[in-house]
């Protein structure tokens, strides 16, 4: 009984210690951002590895998600003779939900895991300690540029995802299934609001960008410096990011569109 209680207590203390370390690291990363503006080249390199290299997966998935939405939406709407609303259905689901959320999940899998593995390996091979020996702060030199790059890349990727998805829906709905082209765009423009839908989608993707990169960077920096520790940290990055993104998405949606 006592040992069981001890185990519970140990887990709880571990959890809160990790949480505390995570927040301290977050503050340290943020405080390293201002001086990055002077050495922006570091960030540009990271935007390349975090953003540009994720571009292919985002483009392909965006196109296919949009095409599936077009197909499924058409099949449902045609029963009511409302297939002209297809544009609205595709655009609203992409801009409000699927764009930010699916992009964040793909981003965690593609870029987040790579960040964790990279930083974890740097720690395991004592590159981070070597930097400290040379009086270079690894948080400011390694973590901050990666964090800022994730923050910049995520909304851009989400916007590309949504735009490509709308085109995918157009491809299936208009070119394949014969929805009227003018109705597709005009119904969409009639119902999608710049402020309510598009801005809120961008805000969502910004929040997800912060959270996913934060988790990835923290897991890498906080991992046990062995090959097993790095592999565990990488898994945790993907799992935790996915859970946090989906949970936060519900909260953000309730705040933005809830009207409860």
């Amino acid at each position: 009984m006592l040992s069981w209680l001890q185990l519970l207590g140990q887990k709880a203390i571990d959890f809160f210690q990790r949480l505390g370390r995570g927040h301290l690291l977050f503050i340290a990363i943020l405080s390293g951002i201002p001086e990055l503006l002077l050495r922006f080249r570091l960030v540009v390199q990271q935007v390349y590895s975090v953003g540009v290299l994720s571009l292919v997966i985002i483009l392909v998935s965006g196109l296919f998600v949009g095409m599936v939405l077009g197909l499924q939406g058409y099949n449902t709407l045609v029963d009511f003779g409302a297939e002209e609303s297809l544009g609205t259905v595709v655009a609203l689901s992409l801009v409000r939900e699927l764009g930010p959320v699916v992009t964040a999940l793909l981003f965690a899998g593609r870029a987040g895991s790579a960040l964790t593995a990279e930083i974890g390996l740097m720690k395991a091979t004592e590159q981070l300690s070597a930097m400290e020996m040379m009086a270079v702060d690894p948080i400011r030199r390694v973590l901050s540029p990666r964090f800022l790059a994730g923050f910049i890349s995520m909304p851009l990727l989400a916007a590309i995802f949504s735009a490509v998805g709308v085109l995918g829906g157009f491809l299936v709905g208009v070119s394949l299934l014969g929805v009227d082209e003018g109705a597709y765009w005009s119904q969409m423009q009639d119902k999608v609001d710049l402020h309510d839908d598009i801005y809120n989608g961008v805000i969502k993707s910004l929040v997800f960008g912060v959270v996913v990169t934060w988790i990835s960077v923290f897991e890498g920096y906080d991992c046990i410096p062995t090959s097993e520790g790095v592999s565990r940290a990488t898994t945790r990055t993907v799992v935790h990011s996915a859970l946090v993104v989906l949970g936060l998405d519900f909260i953000l949606t309730a705040l933005m569109f809830g009207e409860v």
């Binding site: 540009v44 540009v52 851009l156 990727l157 916007a159 709308v166 423009q189 609001d193 710049l194 598009i198």
Partner: protein, 158 residues
């Protein structure tokens, strides 16, 4: 050379992202058709507006000439007050124009339809549309229909 290539790719990426955002704003959302600010305000009172929302279209002859700006409730007359913004270029609506609330399609959204009268004077900023017709509520219609049917039945038995 590699850094140069990297930077070019990042430039392409950022430009593509901006272009996507721009396309979402211009092509997908209503920014291109949405010009608040210009226009004059006209109000109308209705007994029942159920289903009408802010930003619902205001049409005349089927063409959208404005949007509903605000909906409020008047405590004294117990009526709904609908404030509409009509675009400035449509400034020749007759003073005795009447307003009705219609439904687009069978289950579509509600909109305000204006019908012109014959007055020489035209509606100005702050004017009130006097002739109004309420929105048709399906439940009320069915209710009336059922009571009528029941009346007919009891009449028949006598």
């Amino acid at each position: 050379m590699t850094t140069r290539l990297t930077e070019i790719w990042v430039g392409v990426f950022v430009a593509a992202g901006m272009a996507a955002l721009f396309m979402l704003a211009m092509k997908v959302s209503n920014l291109s058709t949405y010009n608040e600010g210009e226009g004059y305000i006209v109000t109308a009172r209705f007994e029942d507006i159920s289903g009408l929302k802010e930003r619902s279209p205001v049409t005349m002859a089927g063409v959208r000439i404005g949007r509903v700006k605000a909906i409020s409730f008047d405590n004294d007359s117990l009526q709904a007050v609908v404030t509409m913004r009509i675009e400035t270029r449509h400034n020749a609506l007759p003073k005795d124009t009447s307003a009705s609330i219609y439904t687009a399609g069978l289950l579509g959204e509600k909109y305000v339809g204006l019908e012109p009268g014959g007055d020489d004077k035209s509606l100005k900023q702050g004017d009130v549309v006097k002739l109004t017709q309420d929105s048709l509520v399906l439940e009320k219609l069915i209710g009336q229909f059922v009571t009528k049917m029941l009346d007919n039945d009891s009449d028949g038995k006598k």
